[in-house]
């Protein structure tokens, strides 16, 4: 542990940005294009219905083009010069708080830009077909564009305020898109749940930003990272833990995981783009971006790895029990992000694998989700895998692309997942010590379970006997949907090898996270174990779901199945721990307000009203009685004067 810290401290990475030139200075277009698309489509209203989806897709493709050009321009720069700064405007000039809005274009952010705009554009294209019959397709594309703009701001901002704005922006877009079919109560509830659970995480991030300002007096990456080593150990740990809380909310890590499974109520392209490929990985970005802070605090790093390991197992277990194809994939997403968080917490060797796995996952999981959408399209929007079966003959392209994504995620040798996930497992063992062993074995176990639940999805959907409803006539999806599937499948095959072979990605990211350690072996003893576990997982699923017929209604199942089906009682826990006490508190407050506050105010009013009702009886209307009271009063005054005089 101590040697590792020393190594980290010795090789501290400091990025020195310089003003961007050429194409790189035009990267503000990355955010401006999709933002303009969203504005036009939302403000233009029904007038833009006819061409709204085309504009949205064009804006996303335009952003991808700008990103690709910027990437090419960056490749032309020397390694240490690859941190570019684009000054946009002075955002908050308030006394000692001075925030400039700049874009921070470095290898890490450009990797995200390419992933977001690339996969995002493919999903835009796919959505043209998927949402073709939805009357609100324009609004859908407007929200998608809004999401892309916010996500790009998140990864491009050079300060934590800009990052936070993007962070909230993607949260908003996620809320709008989960609740896109808001007339379904389940969708509206899921959207609210996602928003509220995310708020808990956002609270952590906002407090982290405040602590940073109080400690460093500035919020730009350059200043915070440059002065991080001067802050006290406790402060740095606090910032790290708060950032981790933010990451847990956005990336659906334990204990804030509960919203992701419900988020599947949104349209499937949304699940692919936001809840698999990009937004949910923002937490990983946050941790890797803030690696300087985490490197100074071993405690925070340890907690990051624990959260990652726990989530990768929890997500995998949930994935095993779900009959809803999207929820099974959502459990898988949780699990895979758990791997990334684990890797990000491991320190230097892990960062590269975290981001590489993130990119590879972006491809194969987006492909899997879009494939699931294609299957749902064929099955009249039924998501229950128990009513699928034998689809490989009817949907050959979907089957082939889904199958490649499946092989990639279970880590079939040579495909994306194998390169990146094995790297994470190796890095966990390389951490050394008892914790490294535990984390490594947990990650290994997770890989085995991954193979099992993904094979289950695969076998239940594409193999075996058809178990369809009678009115279902499966058919292959139109080309506008299959072409993105094919492109994503190509990414699932080649992405990992492209990134990891020859340390290409590690060298690319070196200016951000430090030089790679020489001698990373591709094949280790663990690779063999991972492969063996994968075979066991697939075999188990084969025996259970291919050799035996699958009942159309889910069997009751034992305790463990129920445990997994109910999301490991995550919702029940939240309900008993937070929701019920919250309700009681609300009821108590309402009672106090009704009885206490209102009682006092209403009682006082009733008292005054009653008193005046009695006192006004004195006004009888008889003039002589008034005269009498005047005389008596005058007599009393005179008498009083006499008494005083004497």
């Amino acid at each position: 542990m101590t040697t590792m810290n020393a190594a980290l401290a010795a090789g501290e990475v400091v990025q020195h940005p310089h003003a961007a030139t050429g194409v790189l200075s035009a990267t503000w277009l990355l955010i401006a294009l999709p933002l303009a698309g969203a504005a036009i489509l939302l403000l233009g209203g029904r007038r833009t219905d006819k061409w709204g989806h085309l504009l949205g897709t064009a804006m996303s493709l335009g952003a991808f083009l700008v990103g690709a050009l910027a990437f090419a321009a960056m490749l032309g720069q020397k390694g240490d010069d690859r941190t570019n700064l684009v000054h946009l405007f002075q955002y908050i000039p308030a006394g000692s708080l001075n925030v400039d809005m700049n874009l921070w274009i470095d290898p890490l952010s450009i990797s995200f830009v390419l992933l977001i705009t690339g996969v995002g554009s493919l999903i835009h294209i796919y959505s043209i077909g998927y949402m073709a019959h939805d009357p609100d397709r324009r609004r859908f594309f407007a929200y998608l564009n809004l999401f892309v703009a916010a996500m790009l701001l998140l990864v491009l901002a050079d300060n934590y305020i800009g990052l936070y704005i993007g962070w909230e922006g993607v949260g908003l877009a996620s809320y709008l898109l989960i609740g896109f079919w808001q007339y379904k109560p389940s969708a509206a509830t899921a959207a609210k749940k996602a928003f509220i659970v995310n708020r808990v995480g956002d609270f952590g991030l906002s407090v982290a930003v405040m602590v940073m300002f109080a400690t460093f007096g500035s919020l730009s990456f350059q200043n915070v990272f440059g002065h991080a080593s001067e802050a006290s150990h406790g402060t740095v740990t606090a910032i790290g833990l708060l950032l981790l809380l933010g990451a847990c909310g956005k990336s659906a890590q334990l204990p804030l995981q509960s919203w992701l499974l419900d988020a599947m109520e949104g349209p499937t392209p949304v699940s692919a783009l936001i809840h698999a490929a990009t937004m949910v990985t923002a937490g990983v970005y946050l941790i890797v971006r803030s690696h300087v802070i985490f490197e100074l605090s071993p405690d925070a790093r340890l907690l990051v790895t624990i959260v990652g390991a726990a989530t990768l197992l929890a997500g995998a277990i949930i994935g095993c029990a779900k009959d809803d194809i999207k929820k099974a994939l959502a459990g898988s997403t949780m699990s895979q992000i758990g791997y990334m968080v684990l890797a990000a917490g491991l320190g230097r060797p892990g960062y590269v694998f975290a981001i590489a796995h993130l990119i590879a996952h972006g491809f194969f999981k987006a492909g899997l989700f879009l494939g699931a959408g294609s299957v749902m399209h064929a099955m009249n929007d039924d998501v229950n895998m128990r009513k699928y079966g034998g689809l490989r003959k009817y949907m050959p392209i979907t089957f082939a692309t889904f199958g490649l994504g499946y092989l990639a995620i279970i880590g079939f040798p040579g495909l994306s997942g194998w390169w990146t996930k094995d790297g994470i497992i190796d890095a966990a063992f390389e951490k050394g010590g008892t914790s490294g062993q535990i984390l490594g074995w947990l990650a290994l176990l997770g890989a085995g379970i991954t193979a099992y639940y993904m094979s289950r999805v695969m076998f239940m959907t594409f193999f075996g006997e058809p178990r369809w409803d009678e009115d279902v006539h499966p058919h292959e999806s139109p080309r506008v949907m299959t072409i993105p599937l094919i492109l994503l499948a190509i990414g699932s095959i080649a992405g990992g090898a492209f990134l990891i072979a020859g340390d290409r990605f590690a060298n690319f990211l070196a200016p951000v996270v430090g030089e790679p350690e020489a001698g990373h072996k591709l094949i280790t003893p663990y690779t063999v174990i991972v492969f063996a576990l994968m075979v066991v997982g697939v075999g188990l699923a084969y025996v259970q779901y291919l050799r035996r017929p699958i009942p159309r209604t889910a069997p009751a199942g034992n305790v463990a199945t129920t445990f997994a089906r109910r999301d490991l009682y995550g919702d029940a826990l939240n309900e008993s721990l937070f929701m019920r006490p919250g309700q009681w508190l609300t009821r108590l407050t309402v009672y106090f307000d009704n009885r206490g506050v209102d009682g006092l105010v209403n009682g006082l009013a009733a008292f005054i009203g009653g008193t005046s009702g009695r006192v006004r009886r004195v006004q009888t209307g008889f003039v002589r009685s008034y005269a009498l009271s005047m005389f008596v009063g005058a007599a009393l005054v005179v008498a009083a004067l006499f008494l005083v005089r004497i």
């Binding site: 006004r616 009886r617 004195v618 006004q619 009888t620 209307g621 008889f622 003039v623 002589r624 005269a627 009498l628 005389f631």
Partner: protein, 98 residues
């Protein structure tokens, strides 16, 4: 010597006050009010004589002016009430109440 005038003034004032309180006819009540005003006038003039100053006599004139104005307005009101209610009893004009 002037004490007798004061006693007379007090007697007249008391008669007027009692009249205001116990009589119902508005005209009689009115006359009793006049009686009270004149009783005070008598007291003012008597005190002016006792102290050898003119102040009381001047105030008596003011009182007379005010009383004259009051008679004009008061009688007009009584006439109007009598026309509408066919009664001059002060107890019948009792609409303005709670």
């Amino acid at each position: 010597m002037t004490d007798h005038y004061l006693v007379l003034s007090a007697i007249l004032f008391t008669i007027g006050a009692v009249g205001v309180l116990i009589r119902r006819n508005a005209i009689v009540v009115f006359m009793c009010v006049e009686l009270m005003l004149n009783a005070t006038n008598l007291a003012f003039v008597s005190f002016a004589r006792m102290h050898g100053s003119l102040d009381g006599q001047i105030i008596a004139f003011f009182v007379m002016v005010v009383a004259a104005a009051e008679v004009v307005v008061g009688l007009a009101i009584i006439m109007t009430i009598f026309r509408s209610r066919k009664s001059s009893s002060v107890d019948d004009a009792n609409l303005l109440k709670y």
